[in-house]
């Protein structure tokens, strides 16, 4: 998901640089207030840990392997502000030293992985955690869902950025990136749950009390919800771009015969019984958004119940 240089239009890269710089500067101020002088050693070492943690892999099948990316884990353990800083350090060092992602494209990569990845994780995890009312399944279900959705939403954002830059047509980039990352997200979710299970047993205080965690406030929660909802609507709209309609149909026919197992995971881009692709994808987007709002309403309801 690390976009190299040359793939984004200059305008897109610069705009996302500005957005990321503002977000990181604000997060830095919040972390400064919360942690004070402890922050430099804590953030620095944990960023190194996330980087090293990405080396831990497991074989999936036929030579492919899955590994941790860590946005959700960092958010759950550290809270959103510190997680943004930790991931900013990780993504920046990857670009600067290991050329994993470009320097001009770093703004976009920071936006996708640090800002979107963290806020979406925060929104999903806190929602499910609150729904579970302190029961342990909230930690694990929340962790899995946060890890999966943060990867998928970040990849949709990357696909849209590529499409808006004219580098990759939206009707191919969005389903392809989204589909692949729906699979990668499963691995991420499973590893995150494994890590949370270990930490729950070894240092339950970190998770149970809400310990290091999450004082992000409503603003981050709403931002995460907004991003998830926006991309759920935008990506199907973009991928059903009128110019590409025949292409989508052709592409689907082709891919189904060529590599059906991979593609079987995303047949949901068309709803059965609805022949118009654009309509069907928009419907899918709306239903996705309704689901998200359902979770939001559920949480609001729970909160009110608690107060009463």
């Amino acid at each position: 998901m690390h976009i190299p240089d040359g793939f984004l239009s200059t305008l897109m890269a610069v705009i996302l640089w500005v957005v990321s710089a503002i977000s990181v500067a604000y997060a830095l101020r919040r972390v400064d207030k919360d942690l004070g002088e402890r922050q430099v050693p804590l953030m620095g070492v944990l960023a190194a840990a996330i980087f090293a943690g990405q080396m831990l892999n497991f074989s999936v099948t036929g030579g492919t392997s899955g590994h941790l990316l860590g946005a959700a884990l960092a958010t759950i353990l550290l809270g959103p502000w510190a997680a943004i800083i930790v991931l900013t350090s990780v993504v920046s060092i990857q670009a600067l030293i290991f050329q994993d992602g470009g320097l001009l494209a770093l703004g976009a990569n920071l936006f996708n992985m640090a800002v979107i990845g963290v806020t979406v994780s925060y929104f999903v995890y806190t929602s499910l955690h609150k729904l579970a009312r302190g029961k342990s399944w909230g930690v694990f279900a929340g962790g899995f869902a946060a890890a999966w959705l943060s990867i998928v939403v970040a990849s949709l954002a990357a696909a849209l950025e590529l499409a808006l830059s004219g580098t990759s047509p939206a009707n191919i980039a969005v389903p392809a990136m989204g589909g692949i990352h729906m699979l990668i997200g499963l691995g991420e979710g499973l590893i995150t749950v494994g890590a949370l299970a270990f930490l729950y047993a070894a240092r339950g205080d970190l998770l149970r009390s809400g310990g290091a965690a999450p004082k992000g406030g409503a603003a981050v929660w709403i931002f995460g919800l907004g991003i998830a909802a926006l991309l759920a609507v935008l990506s199907p709209l973009a991928s059903a771009h009128p110019d590409g309609l025949e292409w989508v149909a052709a592409q689907k026919g082709f891919l189904e015969t060529a590599r059906s197992p991979l593609y079987n995971l995303i047949p949901d881009y068309t709803f059965p019984g609805i022949s118009n692709t654009a309509l069907a994808t928009i419907l899918a987007g709306i239903i996705g958004m309704l689901l998200v709002f359902g979770v939001a309403l559920g949480v609001a309801y729970m909160r009110r119940n608690k107060k009463a």
Partner: protein
Amino acid sequence: MHIHFLDPYQPRTSPIHALDARIKFVLTVAFILTVSLTPVAAWPVYILLLALILSVEILSGLGSGYVLKRALLALPFVLAALPVIFTLKGTSLFTIPLGSWTLTASLEGLERFIGVALKSWISLQAAIVLASSTPFPELLQAMRAVGIPRLLVGMFGLMWRYLFVLVDEALRLMRARAARSGQSAEAGKRCGGSVAWRARVTGGMAGNLFLRAFERSDRIYVAMLSRGYDGEVRSLPLLPLTSRGWLALAAGLFLLLLLLLFGILFWG
């Protein structure tokens, strides 16, 4: 300086290595920006930019072979731009019949694709030269000089300091797992549990690593406190650039501006 297989720095004695890190940092970013802004069809400008970065590679003593080999890393991403050959409308070049439908490649699409691939390849080489010819502590100074917040630079520095320690720790975890896992002599035969089980074990390792890092950061913090740390990241003041440094910076920026104008005026 810790020598680790991950550290990309290659010590050499060359004018590129000797150049002030701040100048290299600014020129690399300017170079990548120039590549990004160059219009798609300005092929002569791309050739000049490629010649420029290749000569810097040779001048730096790294050799173009080393840089080109590392530049292959980003190759898989080029696939993302491949479909654009067939979706951009324009003069049709050739068609590939595939069953009941055909792919039509357009000249404009092919140009766009080659442009994207070239841009990313040239930019990548510049980033590799920067990382391979500059020790990280000097890069940190360069980041401070261009106004990246001191706190963030301080964290980058600490992250770098402990990166290798924790990577070694992760490798030890993996070695321990490998030592305790059986492997079938028969190729392709799966051992151990399901994929989900394997993922959970790996997750346990990640949690373990995280916890160790957490506790290590506590110890580091206490060690820093006992040495007088008060929350301020202090470092030596930056030396002013020499006049030769300014000259190199100005000449580099001027050359890049010239190339960019050349591209925009003739092909923009």
